[in-house]
């Protein structure tokens, strides 16, 4: 496309972001500040993730974009079109075929392989923010590994609800050092972070922070000895593909209270139906 550099951002900006990404990979879970640019979309729509994707995308890479697991939701469609126009890269909906996957709120059900890169869109990168409003103080707490307050939140959950009621953005400890917010993925996806062969990059556009989990890094979800970490379970199987081990969305089908449970990962659901048929 005329008038734009490849993948929208100018080369100096990409260099700056790549440099920050290298630092983020070198210190797993550490939030690296970067000079976030204005993107042609509002904050909260994935400006952080788009900048990361733009910086790492090559001309022959194949891109997949998902939002809540689905390839056909507004955010996913518009970001995919954006990169088709400004980078002219090939896009796909198949998890296995993609080199770069930009995601919001989910990790694909199909296991990722070495060489793939997963880019997360992050609204609030600071896991300590809910209890400590001061940025200066939270950075000091990260530096000195003062993470006792993270358990205050989990304690409060159990005291109030009888179990750990945090279901998304569930805090994790990366490589036994930094406590990290894995972005608003359901805690169902937390175990997939641990020892994943793919590189995972996190971009927060409004807060201008990047962080990363390198391949095969140990990632633990925080918990109590007598209240261990657990993922969500459903009594139903997917109404379309019959999967009993994937993350399900509840969909209201009519005004009479009819509902169905379907996989939130549309590509996974479709490929399973293809195999069965």
């Amino acid at each position: 496309m005329n008038g734009y550099n490849f993948a929208y951002l100018d080369e100096q900006t990409k260099r700056m972001i790549r440099r920050a990404l290298l630092k983020a990979v070198a210190i797993p879970g550490y939030q690296v500040p970067f000079g976030g640019r204005e993107m042609p979309m509002p904050y909260g729509w994935g400006t952080g993730g788009v900048q990361v994707t733009a910086s790492i995308l090559g001309a022959d890479d194949i891109l997949k974009v998902i939002d809540q697991g689905a390839d056909d939701t507004t955010n996913a469609v518009s970001i995919r079109h954006f990169f088709q126009r400004v980078a002219g890269v090939e896009t796909t909906t198949a998890t296995t075929a993609a080199d770069v996957i930009q995601t919001r709120h989910r990790i694909p059900e199909t296991p990722l392989r070495a060489g793939q890169i997963l880019v997360f869109q992050v609204p609030i990168p600071e896991p300590l923010r809910f209890i400590e409003p001061s940025e200066q103080e939270t950075r000091l707490m990260h530096a000195l590994e003062e993470y006792g307050v993270m358990h205050v939140k989990l304690y409060e959950d159990i005291a109030r609800y009888g179990h750990i009621a945090t279901t998304y953005a569930y805090p994790v400890k990366v490589d036994e050092r930094y406590v990290m917010d894995p972005s608003p993925i359901p805690k169902f996806d937390n175990p997939k972070l641990d020892g994943n062969p793919a590189l995972m990059l996190f971009g927060a556009g409004r807060e201008k922070r990047l962080y990363a989990i390198p391949p095969y890094t140990r990632v633990e979800s925080l918990d109590f000895e007598d209240h261990p970490f657990e993922i969500q379970r459903w009594e139903h199987a997917c109404a379309l593909c019959g999967s009993d081990h994937s993350y399900l969305d509840e969909v209201i089908t009519d005004d009479q209270g009819g509902r169905m449970f379907v996989c939130s990962d549309t590509d996974y659901c479709q490929s399973r139906r293809g195999e069965v048929a």
Partner: protein, 295 residues
């Protein structure tokens, strides 16, 4: 034959602390020693520098000059802290002096502002405690009473919810709060109850040294009296060393063993509490003692 401990070991050695915001604003050239198990009261009028001094002692504000030295293993071994039996402490103290644990000696003296920030913050969090005048400064108002009490334990690495909760309830009992209210938010508590909660939250890690800034300020007299009574019992049963800042001489008389009178940033008189209150020598102390209202 056992000998009684006459000279208690020095826990905190304060040498020439100066922190001035302007001429005679702050505190200047303060020297004193705090012994283990001792309650030291600092009294003086508003603006005399007693709160500034407390902030410097408690590691919240670096002094312009001087040192705050904390003698960690001063004869009293770690294990003896929780159950305070005087003769027992003395005997173990004696054996330790003979044995001479090299690691304990290496850690014996900590200069508060010479050690790194990480060490200092860990010390403040685990071995020291600070009770603020306003409980809102010392509590997390958004989380329940139980989470407030458990926070320091979780910072120490306790990861068992059941135990944290049991400890929380036990401490609520200790400070005369209803253990059934462990899940209530502090903002639903009265002022006196919030202050009790703050004290429980501070004492839960069994600190050796506690700083208190006007712990009974802003409470009505009957609540004050009960809180003081409770504090006195806790200080004695836990064998705490306390630096207590107050402008209320009645509070000082009840709690403090020794008093320091401050005026315009300087110490004008020091001595045993009864001696200072009954026979003040300095003219300012005389004025202070004579201005107490008696009903």
């Amino acid at each position: 034959m056992k000998k009684p401990v006459l000279e208690r070991p020095v826990l905190l050695d304060v040498q020439g602390i100066t922190r001035l915001y302007g001429p005679a604003k702050g505190c200047e050239a303060i020297d004193f020693q705090l012994h283990a198990g001792e309650v030291l009261g600092i009294v003086g009028e508003s603006g005399s520098g007693k709160s500034t001094l407390l902030r410097v002692l408690a590691g919240l504000e670096a002094p312009d000059a001087g040192r705050v030295v904390y003698r960690r293993s001063s004869g009293e071994p770690e294990a003896a802290r929780s159950d305070v039996h005087e003769p027992d402490t003395a005997r173990r103290g004696g054996t330790q002096a003979l044995g001479g644990d090299p690691q304990a000696n290496a850690e014996a003296e900590l200069d508060l502002y010479a050690i790194g920030e990480a060490r200092r913050r860990a010390l403040l969090r685990l071995e020291w405690g600070l009770v603020h005048q306003n409980p809102r400064d010392g509590l997390r108002m958004g989380v329940s009473a139980g989470a407030n009490i458990g926070e320091r334990l979780m910072a120490q690495g306790q990861r068992h919810y059941g135990q944290l909760r049991a400890t929380g309830q036990a401490w609520m009992g200790q400070v005369e709060l209803d253990p059934g209210r462990i899940d209530d938010a502090p903002r639903t508590f009265s002022g006196g109850m919030q202050q009790r909660l703050q004290i429980a939250r501070t004492l839960v890690t069994r600190p050796r040294l506690v700083f208190m800034d006007e712990p009974t300020g802003g409470l009505d007299v009957s609540v004050q009296a009960r809180l003081l009574d409770m504090l006195r019992t806790l200080v004695r049963s836990l064998g705490l060393s306390v630096v207590l800042v107050t402008h209320d001489l009645a509070v000082a008389r009840l709690l403090a063993h020794r008093l320091m009178v401050m005026r315009r940033g300087q110490v004008v008189e020091t001595g045993l509490t009864d001696q200072i209150l009954d026979d003040p020598q300095h003219e300012y102390t005389q004025l202070l003692v004579s201005s107490v209202l008696t009903p």
